[in-house]
Amino acid sequence: MSRSITRREFLKKSLAGAGLTIAVSMTPFGHKIFAIQEGKKDIPFKPNVWLQISPDDVITVYVNKSEMGQGIYTSLPMIIAEELDADWKWIRVESAPARDEYKDPVWGSQSTGGSTSIRHMHDTLQKAGAAAREMLVKAAALTWKIEESDCETIAGKVINKKNGKSLTYGKLSQKAAQIKVPQEPKVKTGRPKLKGTSMARVDIPAKVNGSAVFGLDVQVKGMLYGTVERPPAFGAKVISYDEKAALKIPGVRYVVPITRGIAVCSDTVDAAWKGKGALKTAWGKGVQPDMNTMTLEAEFLSYLDKKGLIARNDGDVISTLKKAAKKVEAVYLLPYLSHVNMESMNCTASVGKDACDVWVSTQNQTGVFELAKKITGLKPEQINVHTTYLGTGFGRRAETDVVEEALEISKATGKPVKVIWTREEDMKNDFYRPGNSCRIEGALDDKGNLIAWSHKVVVPSIFARAMPGAVKNGIDPAAVEGIENMPYQIRNIKVEYVRIDTPVPVGFWRSVGSTHNAFTVESFIDEMANAAGRDPLEFRLSLLGNNPRLRLLLETVSEKAGWGKPPKTGQALGIAQHFCFGSYVAQVAEVSVDKQTGRIKVHRVVCAVDCGSVINPDTVRAQMEGGIIMGLSAALKEKVEFADGGVRSSNLHNYEVLRMHEAPEIEVHMVVSNDKLGGIGEPGVPPVAPAVANAVFKAAGVRLRHLPMNPETVLSALRKG
């Protein structure tokens, strides 16, 4: 089940070509099904923009979301196939071009993020499949001159219930194309056939044999290679560069100043890099030349004394804290993180007089499309965005910085250009997960009940740059997510947000604000349980109020992990939960600490997840496994280092990520509440860091409030006791 690589062919077929093409769009007022185009005969049946049925029975599903490992090229077609009663073996998947009709109906943009793909597309695709099935049934009823109610659909065929005869969807496709599109197709009500069953991922064979095309793999006839010299410090400007020396390197064709730096363009990739070296670019100082890791950390901590904006204020936190039987105060400090997408940022662009093509591994087709329109001045119909596979995304590929570079270079040279970032460029020019600090105060009454929680978070704003409209009353939703809506029922809660602006650009990093807020909330709830002399699980359960989903999840995860039973020698268990992106996840980490070396070993993570209902169970499992490992990587190892007003971390030797020998055994348990669909790409990440910190506290008696929990942090905490 491979994807065709020529989007142009697709566009010709679907937009300029013949055939019945109908779109299903979901507006806040419900579904609207409308014809885009009426066409000729003898073409595949394309009841809507989402699918096409050919006379040879092949069903092509056009997926508007980017495949970055979350299995969306399988899960979204499953929704259509379910509703269509299709035979799964005939399903083929194509990535949809960037076009208005493929915009996410909830966001109004074609983009992938926020663990929303299934949640946002489910109803639309269900209607799309249902409409096609009704048309096929009608076509069969007309053929057999029987009532539609005498027809049923099974595995890609319409069956005549009267005599058992059948016609395949392929055979019916021509006739079905002539039928009026139903405006209110009925969706199936019975037991699902595909949904809830683990289906093999359609993208895996190509990813195993090496034929899957990622952005970096794009080869366009006559293309040149582009590389860009960018400022080493944030905000630094070019003083001088040696254009002639670069042009002397064999193969170097152009040296072009662009918005983000100086571009070198050449026949080969090695010549481009040699040419860049030959530029010997001199840079001015950045906007904050003395900025480094230590100055940033000191700034984050000093901002804890500033007054912030109040995101939540229930009861009377201040006086409750004053008169509490017991009070606990703690300060947390978390670093900036880099995405470290395995496929470094890259883009291939071809800007011509009457057409512009962009090949890119992007999470943001609409952003790429709009940028191409702006830079080229071409008409929308002249712009083609080709989405490749993404060598991970994690939010980084929602940004279009590299696309801007490729478009500007191609426009300046008139040649197709592939811009490849080196690992060093990728790490030094990221939109980082924001560093942050917190001061949390909690109060217990004389019976050990949690009666007040005051939480001040100091963190840069992602949304202020990325989506300013989402910032309400000055409060960035990511800054306080997971704090202001913590599930614990405490009478007195205050959540305060202090925005800090530093020169370091920040962006969306898998699970966003939850990456840091889950750590501080779930660590501190453990601190309060300890202060109250109560079991961390029992303490949490006692604060849940009416929350059956989370209660069941915590009970499930603790039972599966053997909570309360004596642990193996030297090991301890820690628990944490977090709700984000519509899903509940709880995890228990089984940990030991080597007090000599400060090394933490995470032996096992038991995970329970409730994402409402499940489309592809094996994908849910895979996303939990991957989320836990990425979360653990950040918890134990990751920290961006800064120096001289820029980023010092440069590659995997000084920004290490988790390797196989550090990965725990992982057990995933799905709790199906049949509640509203939740997301699955991100919610696996947040609970693991606090679960590990809580286990470390039990194993070694030290509370780790700084991340990462590397040997240095552990030894320093052990020394302080």
Partner: protein
Amino acid sequence: MIKLTVNEKEYKVDVLPDVPLLWVIREYLKLTGTKYVCGMGLCGSCTVHIDGKAVRSCQMPVNEAIGKKITTIEGIPDDHPVKKAWIKEQVPQCGYCQPGQIMEAAAFLAEKKNPTDEEIINHMSGNLCRCGTYPRIKLAIRTAAKKGGKQ
């Protein structure tokens, strides 16, 4: 002109001798299954076989590969037990690092028929996966080694 033998095919490439083999394979020969990640030999995504041994192609100047038998992911048959196990265990997520993982695992299993879990982990820890497919890689190697895994 440099002569290379890749996947049993002869290539003549007009390239400087110091260019890393990785970039010659990817951008000159257009065999893009072999991936670039770090360029420092730290992640294993560029792993190919040179005379049957797993080698980080980003660390090998192309002239050192002259006269040697180079095999890339494209040269491993689809019915190879490692490729089959990778599909059976549904290992890849984004898939980007997987050709390197498969090349590493194939060379490893060619030398060590029935590795223990510890041997698998020790051997494969040089290959990074940002999606966190490690549990499944381990499982797939067990499956490929016909040890059956947890089936």
